[in-house]
């Protein structure tokens, strides 16, 4: 009897494997239309637009909320959104935004000047997430409601990049947020997994760590660029392993994925029915030197290393989906110039600089720290190891968990001689990158070099306060040239942003200012034919 039971169980287990095969569905269909399925590696623990932002969070924030303006296109441009127009005073301190009058929140409330004022006040007072962008220049009292559809910002000092940050300040519905306030928390608890926005989508199912569903708002105030073809919604599904993402895409369980490996993208490109989006992004890869302490405080040694590196190998590691940096500023950023004489591999020069350094014969060992698990960063370390052998410099490749890397990089004493760092700027304003080389940024992961040049810092301060673009452009050209001359890091490459999707997915619009995996979900649609 017992044995029969066991056999039955075994048979059932085997049978279930063969019988319950659901055919691969291309995309999900519901009664309301097609649902686009996006697979990404990163969860969304907190949706509150004023508390958290990273690529996956911001992708959904951008879908359910609107901001005064929005980045669109490549090169990225700031387009009117909730604000139909804006003007700035001559001294660059007063910004006045005129709002569209037909925008409404998902519950029907109008999006008016008070909602804008409240949202900025909330962001500044919570002092989290996006607050750093404006807090030094804008106080909550500096925001005034001029009339129902006009709002004014009075800055403490002129701040040229002000507008470039506006796309990341989303407007929440004050009525809904206040109704869900607990102990004066500005609705923070509630907005963690709920939304009070006016965007093209509203929240559907919210299953943390599994999937996040958004449903299209049929009568979205700004209309739909794809008209009747708009999808019924989007499911953002968490698939952490690149191999599982690839398998899901091939099987048609998902329509678009963001996190494949470099090799995967090359291999999958030839699969019928799958298309690759491959675009030049703004994420820079650099090897930051500790410029304050240890051997790399010596500029000649830094130059020697920069000239020894095989830059072409960086591109090869990404299977060609990358381009070399020609300046500290990424190409898509305003004011970018190609800095002349940015180091490329030249062993003669490398040896020349080494001879001038305190280590003319090499004979030192330098750590190269990279984030554990980032295969490309590790392989770049191997290239460096090989190249520096010729200078008799030994490289110790050290993988490190991200939290530890950030912790070590926050102090001069613990910051390693060489750390590989990817940095994604938040806006297209050159200040977003230039300020990383300001002494005020010390302690942040992107300032691990502890670069200190008072002349450069002075120019950065001047440029961010100027309202004259020509003057700013001039200053940024000088800043870029001087930073390259000081070599606080090896300026590496710009890694392309890539997605793989089924060929029936239409409307994909790239913009370099978005974060790594982030996609604008608004214009997407499915060509079901």
């Amino acid at each position: 009897m017992k044995k029969n039971l066991v056999l039955a169980a075994m048979a059932a287990a085997l049978l279930s494997g063969t019988l319950m095969t659901s055919p691969a569905s291309a995309f999900e269909r519901t009664d309301n239309g097609e649902i686009i399925v996006f697979a990404g590696r990163q969860a969304i623990p907190v949706l509150d637009p004023h508390v958290r932002y990273d690529w996956s969070t911001r992708m959904i924030q951008q879908a359910v909320y609107d901001a005064l303006v929005k980045y669109e296109g490549d090169p990225a441009e700031i387009k009117p959104w909730l604000a139909e127009s804006w003007e700035t005073s001559e001294d660059g301190k007063t910004w006045t935004f005129k709002l569209v009058e037909n925008a409404k929140f998902h519950n029907g409330d109008p999006v008016n000047a008070e909602a804008v004022r409240y949202s900025f006040e909330r962001g500044l007072k919570l002092n989290k997430g996006v607050a750093w962008m404006l807090k030094d220049f804008l106080a909550p009292e500096g925001i005034t409601v001029v009339d129902d559809y006009t709002v004014q910002f009075e800055l403490k000092a002129p701040y040229a990049p002000f507008l470039s940050f506006m796309p990341w300040w989303f407007i929440v519905n004050p009525e809904q947020v206040k109704a869900n306030e607990v102990d004066g928390d500005y609705g923070e608890k509630w907005l963690t997994e709920n939304a009070a926005g006016s965007g093209p989508f509203k929240l559907g199912r919210w299953e943390p760590n599994v999937l996040y569903e958004i449903e299209a708002v049929a009568d979205y105030w700004k209309g739909w660029p794809q008209g009747e073809n708009r999808p019924a919604g989007v499911i953002y599904r968490i698939i952490r392993e690149p191999s599982a993402q690839r398998a899901s895409l091939q099987r048609g369980e998902v329509d678009i994925v963001e996190g494949l490996t470099s090799d995967d993208y090359v291999q999958i490109a030839n699969t019928p029915g799958i298309e690759i989006q491959n675009h030049k992004g703004m994420t820079t890869f650099g090897i930051k030197f500790n410029t304050q302490q240890g051997p790399t405080a010596d500029i000649n040694l830094r130059k020697a290393i920069a000239y020894a590196l095989d830059y072409d190998a960086l591109i090869q590691i990404y299977n060609g989906a990358a381009s070399l940096q020609t300046s500290p500023l990424p190409d898509a950023m305003r004011g970018h110039i190609d800095v002349p004489d940015i180091p490329r591999q030249d062993m003669a020069k490398a040896k020349e600089y080494l001879a001038k350094s305190q280590y003319p014969d090499g004979g030192i060992t330098l750590p190269y720290v990279h984030v554990a698990g980032l295969e490309e960063a590790r392989r770049i370390g191997l290239v460096l190891l090989e190249n520096l052998k010729e200078l008799n410099i030994n490289v110790e490749i050290t993988p490190e968990q991200w939290p530890n890397m950030v912790a070590n990089g926050s102090r001069v004493e613990t910051s390693p001689a060489m750390t590989s760092v990817y940095v994604t700027p938040i806006s297209t304003d050159p200040d977003a990158v230039a300020y990383q080389y300001h002494k005020n940024s010390w302690g942040q992961y992107y300032a691990m070099a502890f670069y200190d040049n008072p002349e450069v810092a002075g120019m950065i301060d001047k440029a961010r306060a100027s309202t004259d673009w020509d003057e700013r452009a001039d200053l940024y050209a000088k800043i870029q040239t001087q930073i390259v001359a000081d070599q606080p890091e090896v300026f590496g490459m710009l890694q392309n942003r890539r997605w793989a999707h089924r060929d029936y997915l239409e409307g994909f619009k790239f913009s370099p200012v978005r974060f790594t995996g982030e996609v604008d979900l608004y214009p997407l649609w499915i060509d079901a034919e």
Partner: protein, 335 residues
């Protein structure tokens, strides 16, 4: 029996407090500033400080420890710094998926491992025995994540028989929760097609999770069976003319089950730990995945919470094994 239960309960509480203290210390000595990570890459020092204060991370470590442990005694596991939700709520959210996965994997391990072990002992040194030996050695040796990806590629991508990952298809709505175990709830609600779908999702992760366990159950059971089959009472039973089937299934198996049971108890706790890998590969939304994502963002309280939960189940499983021992072997009842 009462003193047995009380003894077990005291051990449980003591062990749990020990686990909590140890995990707290280990997670807190690890470098990395969770507040800075949560605040985001561009946050200013005062923004980081806001988060630090809100989460009590500004206090000295001994004080944090006392606050945490006294909270624990009241049943408060603290709040996740990343999701800003109480850890207990999150554990309740994620634990059912893990429990379901482990139970199915355990069932696979027992119902496949025990009979295979028994058969290979009966047909010792036959081709069948050699085959199961290869099977069991690979089961213990294969790394779970690699095996998982391999199965995904073959059964999901190549053959298209089973889904790649997840617990349910995207548009399927889970049944109204009763036990929060999808398979059970689907059956109780009479949603049979949903039951089959959920079953098809659980097969691959359960197989991967159960494989090492199945293999060790098989090996232990085989070894014991071989010994028991040579013992005097089996010889006596054979001499009495009892059927071979009866001897093996009734007399030998029961005697060989003691070490197997111990192995099952051990493997249960081990399986809960292994969910960390298996759930990541199959995006199974359980506590293993929760622990991984929390650890990666230096979110310590969920890590301690998950460790406690695994410890709790580990102890419970071993208690059940102890009881089963007593049931199978009367000599142990009064020991």
């Amino acid at each position: 029996m009462l003193s047995f239960t009380l003894r077990k309960l005291a051990t449980l509480v003591g062990t749990m407090l020990g686990i909590a203290a140890l995990t707290f210390l280990i997670t807190n000595v690890a470098p990395g500033d969770p507040a800075r990570l949560v605040a985001g890459p561009n946050a200013t020092e005062d923004m980081v400080e806001t988060i630090r204060v809100a989460n009590g991370l500004d206090k000295p470590l001994p004080e944090q420890f006392i606050i945490y442990m006294s909270g624990l005694l009241r049943g408060d596991l603290g709040t996740s710094i990343v999701t800003t939700r109480p850890v207990i709520d999150e554990l309740l959210r994620y634990a059912p998926a893990t429990i379901e996965l482990v139970l199915v994997a355990m069932a696979l391990g027992i119902f496949v491992g025990v009979p295979l072990g028994m058969l290979s002992a009966v047909y010792r040194n036959s081709w069948f025995d050699h085959l199961t030996r290869i099977f069991s050695i690979s089961g213990v040796a294969l790394p779970a994540f690699w095996f998982g990806i391999l199965l995904q590629l073959f059964f999901a991508v190549q053959m298209g028989w089973l889904p790649v990952s997840g617990r349910l298809p995207l548009v399927a709505r889970p049944p109204e929760p009763i036990t929060h175990l999808l398979l059970v709830d689907a059956l109780l609600r009479g949603q049979f097609s949903l039951f089959w779908t959920a079953l098809s999702h659980i097969i691959l992760p359960a197989v991967v999770l159960s494989f090492p366990c199945l293999a060790s159950i098989l090996r232990v059971n085989r070894a014991e069976m071989v010994e028991v089959l040579q013992s005097d009472h089996v010889v006596a039973a054979r001499a009495h003319g009892l059927s071979s089937r009866r001897i093996v299934a009734l007399y030998a198996l029961k005697n060989a089950m003691l070490p197997t049971l111990a192995m099952i108890g051990l493997r249960f706790g081990w399986m809960l730990g292994s969910t960390v890998l298996v759930e990541t590969v199959f995006d199974w939304p359980g506590i293993g995945l929760y622990a991984v994502s929390s650890a990666l963002s230096s979110d310590f309280k969920p890590v301690i919470g998950v460790t406690l939960l695994i410890g709790f189940f580990f102890i419970i499983a071993n208690t059940i094994v102890d009881l089963a021992y007593a049931w199978i072997d009367p000599r142990l009842r009064n020991a």
